[in-house]
Symmetry: C2
Subunit: 193 residues, 2 copies
DNA sequence: AGATTAACGGAGGGGTGCCTCCGGTACAAG
DNA sequence: CTTGTACCGGAGGCACCCCTCCGTTAATCT
């Protein structure tokens, strides 16, 4: 019912101290990354344990609920994505924004969980969304301020658009890039007239 | 193994003759439409039978495989979509194209199977895709010929873009429309310059 | 090396879905 | 109304997944 209603919720999972336990923990996290990427949030936990080469009991000891496991994977990925925002700070406004979005695309492409998370409604998801927006939105604001991006759309519009396109299957990478280009053209400020 | 390798494959399902059997057949199709729309192609067949108010045996008698059931639902929906193409023939090129796309969006929105089908690889899916493209592509060609749509993108690019956006969750209908508008702006021919 | 105990892994009970099979039902023809 | 049979529905076998529990293993400490 009301687990984690107080203080800072966050993930209650900790990397163990014993050597073998640490190995298993990491293997599980790696396998979970893979499997969640392939099958989405509803992937089989037994499959994850199998792929990590550990018993199902070990999985449950480290991550008592599916949510715990997922959150741990997800937090790491979002963190990486947020860092990427710093690396584009010194590019021209539009370019910086686009480069970050491409980065975003690379993540979402293999990790459809991130895509699913845009709509999910949970504590962790919400706070990750906040972090992600905190990283990306300033880039968009800057592009708007520089007159490079339309001002009648929001960052949320753009992010959802991009993530939707990313989650879609295309015949090849070239088509995906082409389509992303089209969509971004729509975001760009129209030449006066 | 090699079922249906000869002649015109198509769906091997027929509406029964006896009154009660016809009733069940229709109920199953209706329930399947609903459930496939809600849960995608991998929905539970027992759920469909339950919702149709018939036994699971009846489902399997009418539709021996999941594919048979799905194909029957899917064929009907694609047919409706193709018809819509005729109704926009007398609108101006760009408008006609956009109106058809909006129609497309309405379908995909509730029937995510159509979206999934863009990438699936089966006999029926392929032929439906052909039909769908046969209906929509001329509209796009016309818009291109009239100088209203970019010529460096293909109809396939656009359709995948739209269906991707449609399958995405948005906070509300208004946002979805806004984003579709942005994307279509990217498809439109840029004002000279 | 030996003791301590954290950590392991998988058996097993419960749930759900897939699909087959067959005793029962009720439509429709005579 | 009777009868033949097309059709019904769900029980049941198999497979997979969830999660718990506990006897066994081996990492760490002394």
């Amino acid at each position: 019912m009301a687990e984690q209603t107080s203080g800072t919720p966050r993930v209650a999972v900790r990397r163990p101290n014993r050597a073998d336990a640490r190995r298993n923990f990491d293997a599980l996290l790696g396998a979970a990354r893979e499997v969640f990427a392939e099958s989405g949030t509803s992937a089989s936990l037994e499959e994850i344990a199998r792929r990590a080469g550990v018993g199902i009991g070990t999985l449950y000891r480290n991550f008592p609920t599916r949510q715990d496991l997922f959150d741990t994977v997800y937090l790491g990925e979002v963190e990486e994505l947020c860092q990427a925002a710093d690396e584009v700070a010194d590019l021209p406004p539009w370019d910086g924004f686009v480069v970050w979005l491409r980065r975003f695309v690379d993540y979402v492409a293999t990790k459809r969980a991130i895509y699913e998370s845009l709509n999910r409604d949970s504590e962790t998801f919400r706070s990750c969304r906040v972090a992600m927006y905190g990283a990306g939105e300033p880039l968009f604001d800057r592009a708007q301020a520089a007159g490079e991006a339309r001002t009648d759309v929001s960052f949320d519009d753009v992010l959802r658009m991009i993530s939707g396109l990313t989650a879609t299957g295309f015949t090849d990478e070239a088509q995906r890039d082409r389509v992303l280009g089209i969509a971004l053209d729509g975001v760009r400020r129209r030449p006066a007239g």
